[in-house]
């Protein structure tokens, strides 16, 4: 088993997040912007720390149960 990955800080600022949201057409209150920024920082840091598990060695989830089972009908 790989060692438990330690997330590194990801430094999105609220201003950067506001630009990214605006690029998709979203305008949100400042209080929401802070929450979204906080969540995005944590989520991206956590996901990128998974390099320790070598996810790049496998294909993205493609073993859909329906596809696998129905192909064997």
């Amino acid at each position: 088993m790989a060692e438990e990955p330690e997330p590194s800080p990801v430094g999105f600022t609220t201003a950067e997040v506001a630009v990214l949201l605006a690029a998709q057409g979203y305008r949100v209150p400042d209080s929401d912007l802070e929450e979204i920024t906080e969540r995005l920082r944590g989520l991206v840091a956590g996901l990128m720390a998974y390099d320790a598990y070598r996810p790049f060695d496998v294909e993205p989830w493609g073993e859909w149960p329906r596809v696998v089972a129905d192909a064997g009908e």
Partner: protein
């Protein structure tokens, strides 16, 4: 025996009573409607109660039963559905102000199949907004746990579990994307089944995350969920993702003999760092019962289990953001603050991070499938006992977010999310109580499309234990 004494019986037992003429379909529906009227003001499990329509459907069932021509074993059995599934002519909100005035133009396939089988629809059930977990300000109030009104019934099929536990319907339908059937079932002391992803049609069901969404039954007995699942499962021209595999007779395959069965206990699920001691003790006791029933028990490992909450949340946020884009642009303020900030976080997730989550999902699925090459059934606790309603909900939002994102290994949910990510069928069956008298659930999982074994093991365990015979001390529920 008066109908009021049948309300806590299982659907299969009620069906036998109806066909034998010992129970009247109209009186059974009236008994449930009376209980809803008397008890649901406190419980808040229902959103819409279809009193007149239910009685009319029950009258038609009664006529068929008297004529000896029931449509199925579900004919005359009262049920309710999570406010996530279309019901013709009925308000379907997804628990959101965004859909506060939306009325279904037709039945979802799962609702239609049950009605065509003669089951009597009592109404729609409360849920967290768009089934996405904690809603700060629920449109229809917070559903309470019948075992302790100050505790949560779990999310997001809150009403579906609470109503069954309180004896307000014979069975219910819920939706499960990361554990939303199984965790509430565990919290409320009932059985909840998430079949293999794609086993049950999602046509007419408000989505959260298409690659994990499942619809399934909650009931007081395993055999009831087997009977309902038989009617729900199968190909559907309205849902191209629904599997075309034939549906076996789950009820006929229920036995109490587990000789030769190989059971794997997932060691990471018994880690005291992520699950309460009472849940661990109840699981270990349940494993002893399975061994007594003839199963061979071995430990197995899913090393990535503790990472599944994080992976699952990332995928759900991203898929939900895509589905909700139109409403997020047009109705942003109508969303609960927790829902909208979650969904917009998903909208901003970089493609590289999303790809990372998708590949981690592959690794998780491989680990689960690897275990199921060695054993027939995986077991572990479903969840902790129900948490208090108020203290958790009153946490400052930022504190809650930080806690859940920065300490994913400590957050609740990995026990159920692992099988949502891998697509495997799994269920929760009552397996005891904690020192405060709150129910605990045992989670089982089997190979893709092996719901037969899943239900058979749960049925054998249930038959050997007393947990399903207990009722909440909720006023009037005894």
């Amino acid at each position: 025996m008066p109908a009021s004494e049948w309300v806590y019986r299982g659907a299969v037992e009620q069906s036998e009573g109806l066909r034998a003429g010992e129970l009247d379909a109209v009186e059974l529906t009236e008994a449930y409607l009376a209980r809803i009227g008397a008890l649901d003001g406190q419980l808040r499990s229902f959103i819409t109660v279809l009193g007149d329509e239910a009685l009319e459907a029950a009258r038609r069932s009664a006529e068929r039963l008297r004529a000896g021509a029931p449509l199925s074993r579900l004919d005359g059995i009262p049920f309710a559905v999570k406010d996530q599934m279309l019901v013709e002519g009925v308000r379907v909100t997804g628990g959101s102000r965004v859909l506060a005035n939306f009325v279904g133009e037709r039945d979802a396939t799962v609702v239609r199949r049950l009605r065509e089988a003669g089951a009597v629809l009592l109404g729609t059930l409360n849920t967290h907004e768009f089934h996405s977990g904690m809603t700060r300000d629920p449109l229809f109030g917070k559903t309470r746990n019948p075992w302790n009104l100050e505790r949560s019934p779990g999310a997001s099929s809150s009403g579906s579990a609470a109503a069954v536990a309180a004896g307000l319907c014979s069975f219910s339908l819920g939706g499960d994307t990361g554990g939303s059937i199984r965790a509430p079932a565990s919290y409320c002391g009932v059985v909840g089944v998430k079949a293999t992803w794609s086993r049950v049609s999602r046509d007419g069901v408000i989505p959260l995350a298409y690659s994990m969404d499942c619809v399934g039954p909650l009931a007081r007995r395993v055999e009831d969920t087997a009977l309902v699942l038989e009617h729900l499962a199968g190909a559907d021209p309205l849902d191209p993702t629904a599997s075309r595999l034939p549906v076996p007779s789950y009820v006929e395959d229920l036995t109490s003999d587990l000789a030769g069965l190989r059971v794997g206990v997932i060691t990471e699920m018994l880690d005291p760092a992520v699950i309460q001691p009472a849940a661990i003790a109840a699981t270990e006791a349940a494993v002893t019962v399975l061994r007594e029933l003839g199963a061979a028990v071995v430990p197995v490992s899913v090393p990535l289990l503790h990472q599944t909450r994080f992976i699952s949340v990332a995928l759900i946020m991203a898929e939900a953001a895509s589905h909700h884009r139109k409403w997020l642009l047009e109705r942003y303020e109508d969303y609960d603050v927790n829902t909208r900030t979650n969904f917009l976080t998903g909208a901003l997730l970089p493609a590289g991070a999303l790809g990372q989550a998708q590949r981690m999902r592959s690794l998780v699925a491989r680990q689960v499938m690897g275990c199921l090459e060695e054993v027939d059934v995986l077991v572990g606790p479903t969840a902790d006992a129900a948490f208090p309603l108020q203290p958790r909900d009153s946490l400052p939002l930022r504190e809650e977010v930080r806690a859940s994102l920065r300490m994913p290994a400590m957050a609740s949910g990995p026990q159920t999310r692992v099988f949502s990510l891998s697509g495997h069928p799994s269920l929760s069956v009552p397996c005891g109580f904690d020192p405060d008298g709150l129910p605990l659930g045992l989670q089982l999982a089997t190979r893709h499309f092996d719901e037969t074994t899943l239900l058979r093991v749960a049925h054998a365990y249930e038959a050997r234990t007393p947990w399903h015979t207990r009722r909440p001390a909720f006023i009037g529920a005894t």
